[in-house]
Symmetry: D2
Subunit: 328 residues, 4 copies
């Protein structure tokens, strides 16, 4: 199911190698100024070009066909679409029969009974994350919070001053690495999140795991909190606004924003498409074989993924912000 949200609701469509991908944003209040330059700017942050990213550069020119009039949202759904260009379909046609390790080829072939559009990963392509960036850019126009992201680890490398060198070495090996990204929201208010099941952290986690290649999410201190005792983990209140001395909770208490910064870290797995040959079972010959995956790929998708996570967070916050207003 391709919709997210209760009041600020995004619906995605599209596959990597068909005519277009797009998003319908339903529930945006009337009268929000829609600044297209901000959408363009965020889409640029996701584009390839840096060392370790693919040479398939998509211009990501979007158009808004509906829901904006004289520069403001009309209260009707906004439809934004991006045409697929720079597509090389023949690189992928063998995927119908030979699934790549780490990819969704195998599961989609079973689930969709062979009818899926397998080209370029189809609906599983990272390409659809451009829509999250665009929709999130609009979400940011709705919410009063400030969002940011930071790449904090690439593969096993934590000193990112050496990132280019490191990724070039990984590329030379025909291999790939993952990464760790921290996402933050500041200038928060108290009260976002609707227990039991629409808790702020639950919605964030759901959204993050919807993004291809995410394999772990932690809020605040996260897994490191295993080493701490409650007396250290508990965040001491400093004043009547709820500001705390530490932020082990990552800005979320009982599934509700507590006014402190929201902080989360997301683990992106190593890119599944690698240049070096891989041992795998061949679904064509029914025996073990060596597979060489073609196409142009990122050595480290995490290098481009930060803005996707940031804007995906914005979508979650926009939805919970409108929900919060409904109950005031």
């Amino acid at each position: 199911m391709n919709s997210y949200g209760t009041l600020f609701k995004v619906t995605l469509y599209g596959e990597s190698h068909q005519e277009a991908i797009g998003v319908v944003i339903d529930g945006i209040p009337a009268g929000i100024e829609i600044d297209e330059a901000k959408i363009t700017s965020d889409l640029k942050k996701r584009q390839a070009g840096a060392i370790g990213t693919t040479t398939r550069i998509e211009p990501d020119l979007f158009k808004i066909t509906s829901g904006v009039f004289k520069g403001y949202s009309t209260g009707s759904p906004i439809h934004l679409m991006i045409e697929n260009v720079n597509v090389r379909s023949k690189d992928y046609e063998h995927l119908a029969s030979q699934p790549r390790p780490g990819h969704a080829d195998f599961v989609s072939n079973v689930k969709y009974k062979g009818f899926q559009d397998y080209r370029g990963g189809g609906r599983f392509s990272g390409r659809l994350t451009a829509l999250l960036v665009a929709a999130g850019a609009i979400a940011k126009m709705v919410i009063p919070f400030q969002l940011s992201h930071e790449l904090i680890q690439v593969g096993s490398l934590t000193d990112l001053s050496k990132m280019d060198e490191y990724l070039e070495s990984v590329a030379r090996q025909g291999d790939s690495v993952g990464g760790l990204i921290e996402v933050k929201a500041t200038h928060m208010i108290v009260g976002l999140g609707e227990p039991f099941f629409n808790k702020l952290d639950a919605e964030i986690a759901k959204m993050m795991f919807s993004i291809p290649a995410v394999k772990g999410v932690e809020i605040g201190t996260g897994f490191k909190g295993l080493e701490m005792m409650g007396s250290a983990f508990n965040d001491e209140f400093l004043d009547e606004t709820g500001k705390t001395k530490t932020n082990n909770s990552g800005g979320v208490s009982g599934g509700i924003s507590n006014g402190n910064d929201i902080v989360l870290r997301v683990m992106i797995k190593p890119t599944s498409s690698i240049q070096r040959p891989q041992e795998t079972y061949s679904f064509e010959t029914n025996q073990k074989e060596t597979l060489q995956v073609g196409g142009r790929h990122d050595v480290c998708i995490a290098r481009r993924a930060g803005i996707v996570l940031e804007n995906a967070l914005a979508i979650v916050l926009a939805d919970l912000y409108l929900l919060h207003k409904a109950y005031r």
Copy 2:
């Protein structure tokens, strides 16, 4: 919002110190044998009693008032309720004015404008997880998969043969610790999960973070995958069923079950209620003060939480299983 699921839908209600808590399970197919002994058995696994768990022991006697006839589900919603007994309300009345560090007292007071039932944490009480256990026990009667859980770390302790001793020491310090729990589903089929937003791992993560005290979730190899290259992380196919040599993906590819075991690990934070005094801001005197939290509490809630996570996973799987059937 207190409902989870599209086809197998659970709706929770209740607060720790009111008359009862309960769950409505909507969308259960007619004709499922409802074995109450299994529900009782799972509820027992969540009960306190072991070292490091609270002395407030709730009998958790449930009754099913609807939706079951002659031992089978009727196709109408199942309503299961647990009366609240062994309740000491006066322990908590000061919480209306003095929020406890690490708890939801502060945010709920702001969000619900002072009208929340603050006794015993109210709706934020871990008590409501008994309902997840009960609903999950029923979910397990719907799905053909096998679920299990294992406590793999308690605070900083990984050699769990020493757990009692360790927790007694923590208790003596008036402190608390968290834990790490691994949850598994075996005998899986290929195809559960509905991209883009109802992916299997996204739904699992949402459900896990809905559970009080969860601060991190990883699927498969998770965060450790940062140290691996793609060539090692990719799971090599072994045969035409999709079985793989390794299971770094944790049984999920592209958000869809790939037929291998589902494996996830969940981080439970240290219990917020501790016996030792805590420095905090007093909302009564408007200055820094020392707070002593009363009541009976778990030193390590993770010791009891495994069955909650396991059965919460069952709810997710039951919903996606029915969705999967609809599209066959």
Copy 3:
């Protein structure tokens, strides 16, 4: 699926002859004064007793187990339940094999594969409408509008001063009749309703047709408008508040409340259970037979249904009212 609403969400459970029926009201804002006397009062309006209504009188004593504290809503779901008493189960046991004309016995036996609780109509019993009355009584505490209903036709009788006499005659024939009920909401505001699919009239119609025995709904002038031309049907504006000279639109324009009174009429079919024998196919002997339906029944359920429709409308308005607030 037994839930209605997006922000003010009611979930029903229960079957006529099991232990209890109940409703969970999720999304009620914190701080609403919950006046139980009003719930009791509305439930009384639905009770039998008048001529033409059943002699099975249910006391409809409800209890609220959750979500209310010190007389106010807490922001947590409200759970209200009514125990089933005065139940004569053996009257119904033959229905498992012999479906009654006009009832849901046949379809439920097919749909639920014989596992349904067939006693007293089970989940199809009009008994569940008591829950709509109770939930609607609470909805009225949330909205600033005034609701009312009026029985305007009973069978073919429009001069209701003769209703008792007419219904006694119908009863003597062992037969039943339907009725026409008008429901109104006054003191409306402009703006309730969320096009395209959550229009005010669409939600009202859905809710009304959810109520057993409803076979027709019209808004404003309704079907009589077939005889009118546009120049007569269009409602002329009288002032800047949107007040109109006529109200052919029934208070709804483009699916949105226009500030004038909401007016709708609902057709209730003749009660399906009648005392006189009916020709029908026997599913036991596989031939045409004469069936005599037992039990205690209403000759004209429409006499008791008005408060159900009124309060069902309140649920719709409460949900759209909260939605409206979210987008302001």
Copy 4:
């Protein structure tokens, strides 16, 4: 909110005078043959041209950008869009300040705070019903039932052999009329519909009232059933398949399809836009004035609406059909 459905989910976007209108169809099973000629054929049935319909003829050329590969659905959402051409925007610009009687101009101006795209009725334009036709044409490819519609009354005229003459006379008066349309589904199965709130008739009514200009819906015998007694209204069973002698229930018992034909009638109000001057309050001069509505309009929109209702019904049936399958 612009989405309908649980498993077969359509999301509409677009406004009459912006770049395009479109629909995303989510949840369509993989492997359905998508015959574009059938979509074109159904869209033609909605087009103007006959006497009594507007001279604004839209070509309604659609394109499918996603979700179809090699002629079959891929399991990914189908996105279908229609560009807006033949648009005369200046005819409508005064509507921002002077709402037309019978239209949504007034309510949308209040609800959307003046930010709505008022041109051509914007999102309230009948133009969006082309999307229901297109989506419904696809829905028909999913379901095994046969659908049809019939215009049975135009204004006060029931002998439709005189329709052209009658509508010319209405046009000469600068006026408009409504109509009554019967919609049917045959070759039904038993079991579609999910009580309590997703009953078949409830979903049908909701869908029908979502369509602009609908003011009444009745199922089966409908309002005429007021004149009947239960002994006549009840449908006598004829055999073990549930076939009945009469079909007063319109194919729906207890909100579930009973295997007999689904029959409903829908009342379409007289077109709000009329050529003759109308008395109304002027929001520009703040006094009573005479308003002359410009533009090209239908004298009787009911003449074109049948295929909209038919295909809207198909959407409802497709959703309930998939739901039904999930619970088998």
